[in-house]
Every structure is written in structure tokens, then in C-alpha cells.
């Protein structure tokens, strides 16, 4: 008896501030104008994707004390774009990355509950925990946290938000025009939370939303991040899109679920992935090489090295050998406001590895960055890409992928038109939406039922 095929989940990540976007391509459109978001979302919905994804950054990146100017800079407000997209789509889930350090639970819970109402049940929240003082300078608390506290605040933030979402059970509004009873009881939405980070009480003013609560994503990769996800998230946005790394991450995180009394299928693992398609394998490889060269100019390559070296490397020749100086291991001061800085936890080891690779292959600085940085996840013909995605999912390297195209906004269309039909033929991707909410698409339970049952039981 063969195992039933796993169904693949697919999402579309509107490229934000990063160097995946080839903004110099003549077909690249605006990453700010709403028409770009509409086009992108409608391609994703046409292809029956689970959801659209937006990342977040709350301060413009700087390098060497100046605003970084080589990649796409600037992005619109997440909640506002997602609410507007709800007007031009019907089924597509709407996932927004919202930080738990520079926000307050009452406000964020209110915004997500509102988004869930306004989209008829399609809202999801990717909880991120960036904590730095650099970003904090934009906020009224001057608010930043010691790194050790980022997840303790995030956990309590999410728990508090859940208390607010659950403060309405869904049956409080009578709106009985005859008797004049609008509310069943005056204390609708009452809550009280007394904790380490939040000491709040009162009444939440958004009644229960269609999904009960938005779907919860997590995107941190540290030990604490994985525990947070295992305890509290419905899905993880990871960066491990290859077979081995993916399987290791998948196993690691799913094993953690038991500790929290959860089943292995209660947490979906969805890595970020890029793709390049061609009519032949060779053509796809060639295009992928071109895209990499467009993504990584000489100047970009030097800036990329500065994330690791934490030094000004502007005097080096990007077409020459790697810098002969050692990285500065002090506090990172050269590049600021960029998640990637934190990706390189052991700069000395990275530098050693890169030097070895560069020497063995006779790579310049730019070659090295092109060869080692952000390689495209899927390169091939629609057939080979569909097969690879299917294999990765069936082999439990992931439950699907969050795809980020390198052209905004049209770059998703080739995948939607050529790869999705092949996945559908394989019987591993939906041909129609089975339900209306994002929870329906992801196959995760609606918490309404749960809280109603709890009420009945109590």
C-alpha cells in the first residue's frame, strides 16, 4: 500500500527590500504602486496559491553610515496593502509580517482581526522579533529589547493577542431590532492580562473574526525561534529549501511539537524559494547565471562581504581576490537594519570557508558572492522544476514553498502558467479552492470550534 501523496502548499512572496529583485530589467515594474500588487495577487489567485506574503522592514538599511542604495529601497505598509488587496481578490490568503517588538498587542490584534473580517477569513500574521536599537529609533518607546528578551516578548505578545481574539466567542452580537438587544451581555470582549511585558485590561472592540484568529507564521531560525514556532505557530517561513537542509530542519521542528502536545501535521514548513525557468535545462541554467550577475554587481558584492567582515571594503576590487584582512568581531556597525547581518553567526568560520572556496575555484569577490549567496532554489524546465518541488515535499523537506520571483510584479506568471498545471497533473496541487478561508487552504483547524467546545464544557 503506497502512502497517499502529500498536497503541496504554494505561496507568493511579493519581493520587498532585498537583492533578489532585478530592478534593472526593462519588464520590472514598481514595487510601490498598488497596480503592481494587484497584478501579482491576481496571478497568485489565478494559480490557486494558498496566500500572498509580505515581509517587513521598519528602518531603511544603512551601510557605512549611509542609506543603502544598490537594491530596491522602500515598501508600503503591510496592513494597508493587504486590506486593499482583499478588495481585488476572493480567496487568496493575505499574510503580513508584523514585528512584536515595535508594536502593542491591542493594536495589532485589532488590525489582524479587522483584516480577517474585511477579507472574509484570509488573514495571517508572520510574527517576527527583530529587536535592534537602530530600528527602535523610529518608535516612541525608543523601544528596543535586549536580544535575549525578543522571544519572551514575542511569546507574551502572541499569547496576549490570542486572549484578545478569544475575548469574543462569536455569539455576543444579537442585533435584535425587535427587542433592542444589540449585545447579549455588556461585558463582551472583556480581558485582563498581567504579565512581564504587558499589564493590560479592558474590552477588545473587534468581535470575533471569520477565522477566529489569524493564521500564525514564525520566521526566526534560532533555537528560541524554533521553540516559539513549535509552541505557537501554524506555519514556519524558513530559509531551508534544499533536500538535506530542509529535511533536517523539518525533522527538528516537527519533533519539537510533541513537547507542546501537538501533532506533527499542526505546523506547516514553508521555505522561501526562488526559481528560474527555461524551455530547456541548458537555457534555464544560462538565464539563472545571467540573473545572478544582474543581482550581484561588483558594488553589491563588496557590500555583501561587508556584512561578514563588518569593515569598510570599498577600496577592494570586486573582480580581484578576497580581502586579506580579518573580519571585525566587535558589534556590527558597518551594515545596519538588515536581517542578513544576523545570518552569519560565526564570521571567522565563514571567512575561512570562503577563502578556501575562492582559492580552489579561482573566484573573484564577485564570483564568490554569485556562487555562494542566495542561489536560485529551482532552475530548470517546468517539468524538472515541478518534479523537484514534488520530490522535496514528498520527502518531507517541506510542506510547500513561498516563492519569490526576481521580477516584480510579472515574474510569478511563468510559474503560475507552466509549473502549477504540472503539479496539478501530478495530483499534488489543488485545481480549485476547496474552501474560502486561509485555514481551509492550509488544512488547519478553525479555533472557533475549539473555544465553543471549551465554553460548552465549562
Amino acid at each position: 500500500m503506497s502512502k497517499p501523496l502529500k498536497q503541496i502548499h504554494l505561496a507568493a512572496h511579493f519581493p520587498g527590500v532585498n537583492n533578489t529583485t532585478v530592478w534593472s530589467d526593462p519588464s520590472a515594474g514598481s514595487h510601490i504602486e498598488f497596480s503592481s500588487f494587484v497584478e501579482f495577487a491576481q496571478i497568485a489567485e489565478r494559480a490557486k496559491f494558498d496566500f500572498l506574503f509580505l515581509a517587513e522592514g521598519l528602518r531603511l538599511r544603512e551601510q557605512g553610515g549611509k542609506i543603502y542604495d544598490l537594491d530596491v529601497v522602500g515598501r508600503p505598509d503591510t496592513f494597508t496593502v493587504l486590506a486593499a488587496l482583499a478588495a481585488v481578490t476572493d480567496r487568496l490568503g493575505l499574510t503580513g509580517t508584523i514585528n512584536s517588538t515595535f508594536n502593542e498587542p491591542y493594536e495589532v490584534a485589532r488590525q489582524f482581526a479587522s483584516l480577517d473580517h474585511l477579507s472574509a477569513g484570509r488573514a495571517a500574521w508572520n510574527v517576527v522579533t527583530s529587536w535592534d536599537a537602530f530600528t527602535g529609533e523610529n518608535f516612541r518607546r525608543g523601544g528596543f529589547l535586549p536580544q535575549e528578551e525578543r522571544y519572551s516578548r514575542a511569546k507574551e505578545f502572541l499569547a496576549t493577542a490570542h486572549e484578545l481574539f478569544d475575548s469574543w466567542h462569536g455569539d455576543e452580537i444579537l442585533a435584535d431590532q425587535e427587542t433592542g438587544h444589540f449585545l447579549r451581555e455588556a461585558k463582551a470582549g472583556a480581558f485582563e492580562h498581567r504579565g512581564q511585558h504587558f499589564d493590560i485590561q479592558g474590552q477588545f472592540n473587534v468581535p470575533r473574526s471569520p477565522q477566529g484568529r489569524p493564521v500564525i507564521f514564525q520566521a526566526g531560525d534560532s533555537e528560541e525561534g524554533r521553540e516559539f514556532a513549535a509552541s505557537s505557530a501554524d506555519a514556519i517561513f524558513s530559509r531551508h529549501a534544499t533536500l538535506k537542509e530542509g529535511q533536517a530542519f523539518y525533522r527538528d521542528v516537527k519533533d519539537r511539537l510533541v513537547r507542546y502536545g501537538r501533532d506533527r501535521d499542526q505546523l506547516l514548513i514553508l521555505p522561501a524559494a526562488t526559481f528560474v525557468l527555461g524551455d530547456t535545462e541548458a537555457e534555464a541554467q544560462e538565464t539563472a547565471r545571467e540573473v545572478r550577475r544582474l543581482q550581484v554587481s561588483g558594488a553589491t558584492a563588496l557590500k555583501h562581504l561587508e556584512f561578514v567582515w563588518n569593515r569598510d571594503l570599498s577600496s577592494y576590487d570586486p573582480d580581484g581576490p578576497l580581502p586579506d584582512v580579518e573580519p571585525d568581531l566587535g558589534e556590527h556597525t558597518v551594515a545596519r537594519g538588515r536581517a542578513q547581518v544576523r545570518m552569519y553567526r560565526d564570521p571567522l568560520a565563514i571567512v575561512r570557508e570562503w577563502r578556501e572556496k575562492a582559492e580552489a575555484n579561482n573566484w573573484s569577490i564577485r564570483d564568490l558572492v554569485i556562487e555562494t549567496g542566495n542561489r536560485q532554489s529551482f532552475v530548470g524546465t517546468p517539468e524538472t522544476v515541478a518534479a523537484e518541488i514534488d520530490e522535496l515535499v514528498q520527502a518531507d523537506a517541506s510542506d510547500g514553498f513561498i516563492l519569490v520571483p526576481h521580477i516584480t510584479p510579472g515574474g510569478l506568471a511563468p510559474f503560475a502558467d507552466k509549473v502549477v498545471p504540472l503539479l496539478q497533473e501530478r495530483g499534488v496541487f489543488r485545481t480549485e479552492y476547496a474552501g474560502t478561508t486561509l485555514r481551509d487552504h492550509l488544512g488547519i483547524h478553525h479555533p472557533d470550534a475549539e473555544s465553543r467546545n471549551e465554553r460548552v464544557a465549562s
Binding site: 530592478w23 542604495d69 522602500g74 508600503p76 496592513f79 494597508t80 431590532q177 470582549g189
Partner: protein
């Protein structure tokens, strides 16, 4: 009789309407209040009437019949959605009308609001505004737990003691608006250059730190969202006394005031214009709109009878900070022109019952005003600034670096 200058007209949307029993009227749709189609229908109706803009009320607590404290009532509409998100949800399906959600300055972050409104301006292609409001409500402060707000001395905002108590919150609101406007200006219009030759996406000399330092907060900047289509979305505020008038005079593009007759309107306008001059803005266009609650019926006497029926359902007569009008569209047009004479440039009408009074505004009042050449007959601009005759401001930083 000389033809009066054309009026500007806005409607203030709040639940099923401003009368607390409005939800009990036949067409009120109280079960639909938390859905997008409900709001879409209202704003489409307002746009049908060529109105300048709609405002969307909001609050960081449950609605209450009490000014500053929660009540325990179960007979009125309770619960609402975030106004900025409602605005964003309806913007793509309209074309001309301005959309002005309420935002509370006391507990929110200027950085977050500035990018939300800039984005509302993008999704509406130039039709965004905001109505800024303070919260002097102790129970709303307890929803955030960051600061304590004391109860008002005598439970009334508008008394001298009440005004004194909220002075700090209004000063903070003025700082807030300043920080938000600087963030909108922090990207010059042409900062995105996509210069393939040099590999630079932006010209960083056209991005600016706003370095706002106030008593309650500081903001570094620049914004993460490029300068919105209108340069700066419009800022509006409601005022009933000197301290909020000063906020209007210093910080707003449109102020809402609540005179009950032409003499009061004259006095309020004089105060605001003096403050405006004192703030060095004498040459800027600052609209001052009169706020009115309206019951409108074509049939003489019908509006008053409707008001009485609703008061009976509510169990008490409805009172308001604004003048409550009940009558025919022609009578309302007369009143608007009378109040306009001292210098109000428009009105924000609060429909007592949205289901009845909003269509009465768009289908009866507007044609009546058009007959009097006192209101537009088609949308003459694509942006809210255009409709209000407000110029698109240059970024303050552009001149500095030019």
C-alpha cells in the same frame, strides 16, 4: 442674490448612523457592520453624490454613551473595525471620493501611521486623508498599559478644567502630525532613480532623516514608504474649544467645528484664523467645516417625526455636540448657506441613520445645492487635494538640498 461659493461636503460614517437607535431601523443592516460590502455600499453611495470625502470614525475601545468611560449598555451598536483598514479595503473600488479614516494619536506610533496613510494614498491613487483624534479615556490607556490617563476633573472635555487636562494630549497630537508630515516629506518625489549605469536604485541624497524630537517621542526616519501621490495626504481634526482649535490652526488642512448658528460660526472662525496667523500659516488654505447631525426627508415634518420615533426607541432624546438638524433638503440647504456666510467652506454631515440619511444627502440635498449652483455637478479632480483646492506641497527637504 449673489451666487455663493461652492460648498465642500463630507459625510461622517459611524456604524449604522449617529443616532444610537439607528441600528433598529428597517434598512440598517446591523449584522453587516463588520463586513466589507457594508462599507463599500456606503462609500459608493457617497461617491454617487459627488461628495468630497467620507470620514470613518474609530476608537481604541468599545463605543460608549459616556464621553470618557465605558458604559454597560447592551442596546446600542458595539464593536468596530480599524478605520484605516476599512478605508484601504474600500479604496480600490472607488475612483474619485476622498477617504479619511480616524486615527488616535495618544496610543499609536507616528511612524506606523505615516506609512499606513502614505499607503492608503497609493491604493486610492491620491485620495487619502486622516482625522486625528486624542484619547483622554482612562480605560483606553489601560488597553495599552504604557501610560496612565487620569479621569477628567469634571467628566467633561469642553470645560476649562477638562481642556486644561487634555492640553498635553493635544500638544502631543500636534507633534505627532508634525512627525508624520516630515516622514511623508522624507523621500523627495524623485528619490527613486533606478540608475542602471551606476547600479543605484535610489538617490540617497534625496532621502532625509526627519530627526523629530518631541516631549513624548522621537522619530529618526526616513520613512520606509516613498512620498505618497499627494505629497502629503490631508490632515483633519475636530475641535470644540480653544485648545483643539489651536491644533486645527497649527496642524490641519481641514478642521471640523460645531457651531449652532451663524454667530457662533463667526466667533469660532475668528479664533481659528487668529491662531492660524499666529502659527505663521495665514497664507495656507485651511478649510473649516461645520459638523451637523442630519435627519433628512423630502416630506415636511417627516424627519422630525422620524427623530421622535428613534428617540422613543432609544428611551431618551438624542443629544450631540453638533447641531441636530431635522427637516427637508431645501431647509438644510438654506441652513448650510446661512452658516456658510461667516466663512465656513464646507460641512461634514453626520447621517443620523446611514441607511436613510446618506441617500437623502446624495439624492436630495446634493441636487438641491446643485440647483442653487452651490455644489459641483461632476468631480473636477482626481485627488482629494484637487477636490479641496489644496496645492500639492513640495517636500520641505527638497528646497533645503536644491
Amino acid at each position: 442674490m449673489t451666487t455663493p461659493a461652492p460648498l465642500h461636503l463630507a459625510v461622517a460614517l459611524d456604524g449604522t448612523g449617529w443616532h444610537p437607535a439607528s441600528w433598529r431601523t428597517e434598512n440598517a443592516r446591523p449584522h453587516a457592520l463588520l463586513t466589507a460590502p457594508y462599507w463599500q455600499d456606503l462609500i459608493t453611495e457617497a461617491e454617487h453624490g459627488l461628495l468630497d470625502f467620507v470620514t470613518i470614525e474609530d476608537g481604541l475601545g468599545l463605543q460608549s454613551s459616556h464621553l470618557t468611560d465605558p458604559d454597560d449598555r447592551t442596546d446600542q451598536v458595539r464593536g468596530r473595525l480599524d478605520a484605516v483598514l476599512v478605508a484601504a479595503r474600500i479604496a480600490p473600488r472607488t475612483r474619485h471620493i476622498g477617504i479619511v479614516p480616524t486615527a488616535i494619536t495618544t496610543h499609536t506610533e507616528p511612524f506606523h501611521l505615516s506609512k499606513a496613510l502614505a499607503t492608503l494614498d497609493y491604493v486610492s491613487t491620491g485620495r487619502a486623508g486622516v482625522r486625528v483624534q486624542i484619547s483622554a479615556k482612562p480605560h483606553e490607556a489601560a488597553h495599552f498599559g504604557r501610560r496612565k490617563i487620569d479621569p477628567l476633573p469634571d467628566g467633561d472635555y469642553n470645560s476649562p478644567a477638562g481642556q486644561e487636562a487634555v492640553r498635553g494630549l493635544f500638544d502631543e497630537a500636534a507633534d505627532y502630525v508634525e512627525a508624520v508630515r516630515r516622514l511623508w516629506d522624507s523621500w523627495e518625489d524623485d528619490a527613486e532613480i533606478r540608475d542602471v549605469a551606476t547600479g543605484r536604485f535610489v538617490d540617497r541624497d534625496k532621502l532625509h532623516y526627519v530627526d523629530f524630537e518631541g516631549e513624548h517621542f522621537s522619530v529618526k526616519g526616513p520613512s520606509i514608504t516613498p512620498r505618497p501621490p499627494q505629497g502629503q495626504p490631508i490632515v483633519t481634526a475636530l475641535g470644540h474649544a480653544s485648545i483643539p482649535y489651536r491644533l486645527i490652526a497649527r496642524s490641519a488642512d481641514v478642521g471640523y467645528v460645531t457651531p449652532h448658528d451663524a454667530d457662533q460660526a463667526r466667533a469660532v472662525l475668528a479664533e481659528i484664523r487668529a491662531e492660524q496667523a499666529a502659527a505663521g500659516r495665514a497664507d495656507d488654505t485651511l478649510h473649516v467645516f461645520g459638523d451637523l447631525v442630519v435627519f433628512l426627508d423630502d416630506e415636511p415634518g417627516a424627519a422630525r417625526a422620524r427623530r421622535e420615533r428613534l428617540d422613543a426607541l432609544a428611551g431618551e432624546p438624542y443629544t450631540s455636540d453638533a447641531r441636530i438638524f431635522a427637516g427637508t433638503p431645501a431647509e438644510l440647504a438654506d441652513l448650510l448657506q446661512e452658516l456658510q456666510a461667516p466663512g465656513l467652506t464646507g460641512f461634514r454631515l453626520r447621517p443620523a441613520v446611514v441607511a436613510d440619511d446618506l441617500p437623502a444627502i446624495t439624492r436630495s440635498l446634493v441636487p438641491e445645492l446643485q440647483r442653487r449652483a452651490a455644489f459641483r455637478t461632476s468631480y473636477e479632480a482626481d485627488t482629494l487635494r484637487g477636490l479641496l483646492g489644496l496645492p500639492r506641497p513640495a517636500s520641505r527637504y527638497a528646497t533645503a538640498s536644491a
